[in-house]
């Protein structure tokens, strides 16, 4: 056996910079994105820690006193603690309610985002790989769905199915899978024309293996970007539905329910009931979107310097 040839020239050094390190460096080039990621991290941590860092469990009716209702920010509650952000009409401490609401909003957003991603990208992959009539039917369905506003579809579905977290998630998935399907199909078409897919076919590998092990991992970059942005959308959509009164129940308020509850008091000077949950929702969605934008810039090969 001869000496391995041409291993010396042009063999790049490993250990200098892994793709992940390069990705991280590029992501943090923008201080806005770094700030947004930090803020998002803070919001998520606060939401996760809610039961331990809030004075009141707003879902436990035993801890909520109507006599505490509509107190302005900074008032002392009858039970003894200070309501720094005031309270809503039912006597819920807004600081506690916002953190608990964030938990619901984020988990609904993430759950529907992940489920829609799995369903949508599977459909998109199959459409791209199968081609022909399957692709035509699926993609016309996607076009049809995308021609309606997502809020309208979700609104109709929730109106039919009723309230509850599970139903909201189903409605959001139904409203959003098409975005994932379209994105994945576009990049899967590009990938499946590449020679490594032909090679896999030539090696007699099964269709499922080719689709999920060879094509899908190479479609991840746009999928991650769309996933982030669509999760922010899902959170906003859930808030919209709850605000309109068809979303979650009053007893387990998400941010949208809190905003809706305070809306009637807006004109009477009790701005805080809607204002603070609104700010929390805004910060969450804006930070997710900023992170998503930066991901798009970093992962898009066409914008690479």
């Amino acid at each position: 056996m001869s000496v391995p040839a041409d291993s010396a020239p042009g063999a790049p050094e490993i250990g200098v910079e892994t793709p992940f390190q390069r990705f991280r460096a590029e992501f943090f080039e923008s201080w806005i994105a770094a700030f947004a990621l930090g803020l998002l991290g803070l919001i998520v941590v606060l939401a996760l820690l809610a039961p331990w860092i809030t004075p009141q469990n707003p879902y436990d009716l035993g801890q909520v006193d109507v006599l505490d209702g509509k107190l302005p920010p900074g008032s002392r509650a009858y039970t003894g603690y200070t309501m720094w952000l005031g309270s809503d009409g039912a006597g819920r401490d807004l600081y506690s309610a916002i953190l608990y609401g964030l938990r619901i909003s984020i988990s609904v957003g993430v759950a529907s985002g992940v489920i829609a991603l799995v369903i949508g990208s599977t459909i998109g992959l199959i459409a791209a790989y199968a081609g022909g009539r399957v692709e035509t039917v699926v993609m016309r369905l996607v076009d049809l769905q995308l021609s309606f506003p997502a809020a309208l579809i979700a609104l109709m579905l929730v109106a039919v199915m009723g309230r509850g977290i599970d139903k909201i998630i189903i409605a959001l998935v139904a409203a959003q899978w098409a975005y994932y399907a379209r994105t994945v199909r576009a990049s899967a078409l590009v990938e499946s024309a590449k020679e490594y897919v032909e090679a896999a076919r030539c090696l007699g590998l099964g269709h499922a293996r080719i689709v999920f092990r060879h094509i899908l991992p190479n479609c991840m970059a746009p999928l991650i970007v769309v996933g982030t942005v669509q999760t922010a959308h899902a959170i906003a959509l859930e808030a919209t539905l709850s605000f309109l009164g068809v979303g979650l129940r009053q007893t387990e308020p998400s941010l949208g329910v809190l905003i809706a509850n305070g809306f009637e008091y807006m004109m009477s000077g009790r701005y805080w009931i809607s204002f603070f949950p609104g700010i929390a929702l805004l910060l969450t969605i804006v930070s997710i979107n900023l992170v998503g934008d930066q991901l798009r810039d970093v992962l898009n090969p066409r914008l690479k310097k």
């Binding site: 041409d6 042009g10 063999a11 896999a200 076919r201 007699g204």
Partner: protein
């Protein structure tokens, strides 16, 4: 004569660009629109004997890659049959078909696009043998090491990703991936065209060494006649989807029969003909969308006769082992 390892009979490939809805409506209304059909390969017969290296050459767009892809089982032919060891693909049992699939492998032109960038080298090479049960999980690592040594790659590099290798090394990985399923026939589609000249020689030599070690048979597709002359036992020249000439390498290069082959060879730069005045083959290669009638080469042929415009010349044996498709029947002045 022994049974050919792989044989194609009357294989044809058309690529049809179907009319969209607007086009269909326009045709209904009487507009002069038709489906566009690219005649990539037109009723080709080719047999490759075991152990042989067949060079397939021709200008770009002549259908040589399409023919290679059909033989490798990546593209289904529009018409005709592909036989492996004398059995048509349509008559094979499931096990036979799987064996034939693995026995014919392909080496691709682009060493960048032909390797999955998300997989490590050991996964690229080891996946197929593991899936097909040629090796079990415990023996996989040693198996991959062996294959990598066979293509003169250092097994220590198997945990790396393709982007960490040079072009020549990537092409070796591609060869290793094919070798890992113990093929008997390799279709090399411009396998060295995208490499540096110094690396080209190394990879060519690797192909020749592997031929000895593994008893391989090659179909070597290239537009580069000097490469084909170097490696092939027999050369097949294609023009616009048809085989125009097929002969043992030495014979084809010393005494080309078909006017197209003669024109091609006149273009090859040679050390002994430095003062030769190059005259490229006159005219453009006609569009495969609308190939000329009769002999496809007649619009550019210096010897074109009236019959060439109407009748397609068949591939005829004009000397032992040498075939040419020309109405001049090999009597043209050399």
């Amino acid at each position: 004569m022994s049974v050919p390892l792989i044989e194609v009979r009357g294989v044809t490939k058309h690529f049809v660009k179907r009319l969209d809805l607007a086009g269909k409506i326009a045709r209904r209304l009487g507009a002069d629109v038709d489906e566009e059909v690219v005649h990539a390969v037109d009723a080709v017969d080719l047999a490759v004997r075991p152990g042989e290296v067949v060079g397939l050459a021709g200008e770009s767009g002549c259908g040589k890659s399409t023919l290679g892809r059909m033989m490798a089982g990546i593209l289904p032919p529009t018409d005709g049959e592909i036989l492996f060891e004398g059995i048509a693909a349509s008559e094979m049992s499931g096990a036979q078909r799987r064996a034939a699939t693995l026995a014919v492998q392909m080496i691709f032109q682009d060493p960048f696009a032909s390797l999955n960038p998300r997989l490590r080298v050991e996964q690229i090479i080891g996946e197929a043998p593991l899936v097909h049960g040629l090796v079990d999980r415990g023996g996989l690592s040693d198996y991959v090491d062996d294959i990598m040594r066979n293509v003169r790659l250092d097994p220590a590099l198997k945990r790396r990703y393709p982007h960490q290798f040079s072009g020549g090394q990537r092409q070796r990985i591609g060869i290793a991936r094919a070798l890992a399923v113990r093929p008997r026939f390799l279709v090399c589609d411009e396998a060295i065209a995208s490499l540096d000249v110094s690396i080209q020689a190394q990879v060519l030599n690797l192909f020749m060494d592997l031929r000895e070690e593994f008893d391989l048979t090659y179909l070597f597709i290239s537009h580069d006649l000097s490469v084909v002359e170097h490696i092939a036992d027999r050369v097949v020249i294609m023009y616009l989807g048809r085989i125009v000439e097929s002969a043992p390498t030495e014979q084809l290069f010393s005494a080309p029969r078909h006017p197209y082959t003669q024109a091609l060879l006149a273009d090859v730069p040679r050390l002994d003909q430095r003062k030769h005045d190059f005259s490229p083959v006159a005219g453009e290669i006609p569009s495969p969308l609308d190939p000329p009638p009769g002999c496809h080469f007649h619009p550019r042929c210096p010897h074109a006769m009236p019959i060439c415009r109407t009748q397609q010349p068949v591939l005829r044996e004009i000397a032992p082992g040498a075939f040419s498709a020309c109405h001049l029947d090999g009597n043209s002045g050399t």
